[in-house]
């Protein structure tokens, strides 16, 4: 790095795409970029979303260069007429473009591999701005570009997050990291299941003041997400050891205050954790799902390698299948109703027997919008767990629409697995 050049401190993101300006559309890339840049101590000072219009994108780039050291532009690198980010950036910085032969070969090869003819419009994706470094995209046809302007730089990144994120990570590990200053923002977090945001907030409140007043202040943010609460802690310093010590201490204090409702301080998901605990115990799991309709199984098998602990299970959406596939006595359903503790327990026991696994999970409930009654309103869910050492059922009341109730049910089931496998009461903690 050129010693005369000031390190990058301020960044700006531009998301290109008219579709993201519609109601309900969110540009998720900008948050991911802000997060990654924070690790380099680079602040995002502005973010914008701009429609697919050459002039508007060009103005956005010029504006960003007035305020920021580094400008990261996502989207508009596809092959269509709407994809004009390359052109707009070239115009904004007054440079020409050329066709990159190596990139052209890659695109042709990618189509050939899938036995497809390359549409002529894809040539556009081989256009590189003069002086730019091409950034390879193993997950798509649109390469990125990195333009070093001396004291400033511009990155062109693809719009799809699964293409953008790996490319960003390589920039952060490489040229972008090399241009950042000594100060870094370090962060750690923890995740909580089975408690509300306000309950977590109330528990942590007394710790905040201590953290802020410390020699190396620790800043805290709480985030309420579907099925979990996350606590994020940040410190900013040029001393990595001091950062690690301050964050470890604060995380330990928060974990002690919050107790076993904290399921990870190392960013694992509930399904990761349940899976690893099952594997460690040498147990395999099967599930019988009614209202969640396969979502629990889908989440358990989201984890790569999950065939080492998941056998499968049954989806007993109809009452008849509860009997046919999981041996729930029809009389039990008639007596207690399909949404009941005895039926949830029978589903867990039944699927465990059928599949020959050590652990069985049964879920039955009312996800809505229809099917609720005064006695069993929408959101009523029974989740049963049957292991070699415990048989338990949680009677939950979730608040929200169909998507929320189903998602919360699955998270609660995974958390029951986690609690049981770590020697806690799988039902007692929920509040």
């Amino acid at each position: 790095m050129d010693a005369r050049v000031r390190p990058f401190a301020r960044a700006e993101t531009i998301a290109v795409g008219s579709e993201m300006l519609a109601l309900g559309r969110v540009d998720t890339n900008s948050g991911v970029i802000a997060d990654r840049l924070a690790t380099l101590g680079i602040d995002v000072i502005a973010r914008s979303v701009v429609s697919d219009h050459l002039g508007h994108v060009e103005i956005a780039v010029r504006t960003a260069l007035q305020r920021a050291d580094v400008v990261l532009i996502t989207g508009g690198l596809g092959p269509t007429d709407d994809d004009l980010t390359r052109q707009a950036v070239a115009a904004a910085i007054g440079r020409e473009m050329h066709e990159d032969a190596e990139q052209m070969a890659r695109i042709t090869e990618r189509f050939a591999k899938r036995a497809l003819a390359m549409p002529e419009i894809n040539r556009r994706q081989a256009m590189v701005i003069d002086g730019a470094v091409r950034l390879d995209n193993p997950n798509g046809t649109a390469p990125g570009q990195w333009i070093d302007l001396g004291p400033q730089a511009i990155a062109l990144l693809p719009g799809p997050p699964r293409e953008m994120t790996p490319m960003l990570d390589r920039l952060v590990a490489g040229v972008l990291g090399a241009r950042a200053g000594e100060q870094r923002t370090y962060s750690r977090g923890l995740k909580v299941a089975g408690r509300s945001e306000s309950s977590v907030e109330a528990t942590l409140q007394p710790l905040y003041a201590t953290w802020r007043a410390a020699a190396l202040p620790v800043e805290a943010t709480i985030l309420a997400l579907l099925g979990r609460i996350e606590l994020h802690l940040f410190v900013r310093t040029a001393d990595p050891a001091a950062a690690a010590a301050a964050l470890s201490r604060a995380i330990a204090e928060a974990a002690t205050a919050l107790g076993p409702s904290v399921y990870t301080t190392t960013d694992e998901s509930l399904e990761d954790l349940a899976g690893h605990l099952l594997r460690a115990a040498g147990w395999r799991v099967s599930v019988a799902e009614s209202c969640t309709g396969g979502l629990l199984s889908a989440r358990l098998t989201d984890v790569p390698g999950s065939s080492a602990w998941v056998d499968g299970g049954v989806i007993t959406y109809s009452n008849a299948l509860k009997t046919v596939l999981a041996d729930v006595p029809a009389a039990l359903i008639a007596e207690h109703g399909a949404v009941s503790e005895p039926v949830a327990l029978a589903l867990a026991a039944g699927v465990r027997d059928r599949c020959g696994t050590q652990v069985g999970v049964g879920i039955t409930g009312i996800a809505g919008p229809d099917g609720g009654t005064d006695a069993k309103p929408v959101g009523t869910v029974f989740i049963a767990l049957h292991t070699p050492s415990i048989v338990a059922c949680r009677h939950a009341h979730f608040v929200g629409d169909r998507v929320v109730v189903r998602h919360q049910s699955v998270s609660a089931a995974l958390d029951m697995l986690r609690l049981a496998l770590t020697g806690h009461d799988p039902v007692g903690l929920a509040r």
Copy 2:
């Protein structure tokens, strides 16, 4: 309204506040504004979030005035040092500010009512830009401001949504509505399964020119999403009947060009559509899922009321369960491998028999990251469909990571259901 002045067509929103630049924070005001302006036929062409820095906000305002007819700025109207929207706008348009006596009286009164002394810093909230119209804020201390610049205008609105939204609604009903043209933007769309973005684009390319050259031009945008491609069409006119006719004609032309890969022109999801077609046929479905691990069933049961056509099924993640739960002969698995056409067909037939449904779906494949071989790489998926009238299996090669392969497999299965139920070859179209 001055007849010489062009009606407002393009708007831009600026949200001021460093706190909104953090990960996981969303600026909800901009979506609400876009929604309200759409009813006036005013398009939001860009939105940005800017940190609380005088120069940055000033640049954002200047930039917006280069592109937009009307600029709506939210936030930064409070009493603290961080609240510098008023100053930034005044600087951007080269005007002074003055203390508004009436507003000062209101603020004083508001504090008096709550028996509080007014902090001196609240005087700042009585500062009004020369020539601006004050917008009353019944829900807070920060008034808004409306600045008529002749051909353009700027609105300063408070950040808290419950203060911003009522003020915006009054603007829309009042001065903003009066400045909007007769023209409104109308839109329609269609969704495509089983084709790539560039294949859709290449098919539609010849139509674009015709649409754009029409007396009432139709603009098109293509969106590539996981498992589907969406085409959005827009026209802008003062004549609702002409809009409907132009959009219908263009949608019909696109649908003809794209053929049966178009699954909806009325915004239905594949799972909605498959469900409604099953119900119309009087058929019930059951599924046997291996690599998708419950995702297909979860998506089928995402649809409210899906118990009318979904019975359930089995998740046969382990080979043993393929035999135990879906009667796939162990010898068949030994001979062809678990990921094979015969096993997919046996899964579909087996689950259909077990569950007593008219339709059975079987999915087996390699979602990755492990398990791929040269003969059957990651992304190899067999999807079998067994109905009273058809038995078919698609051998698919999906490109992407575990999440993508699983999601594409589910979309492909739903699309096979859709095609079979509408009298098309469920396998032949995929490309």
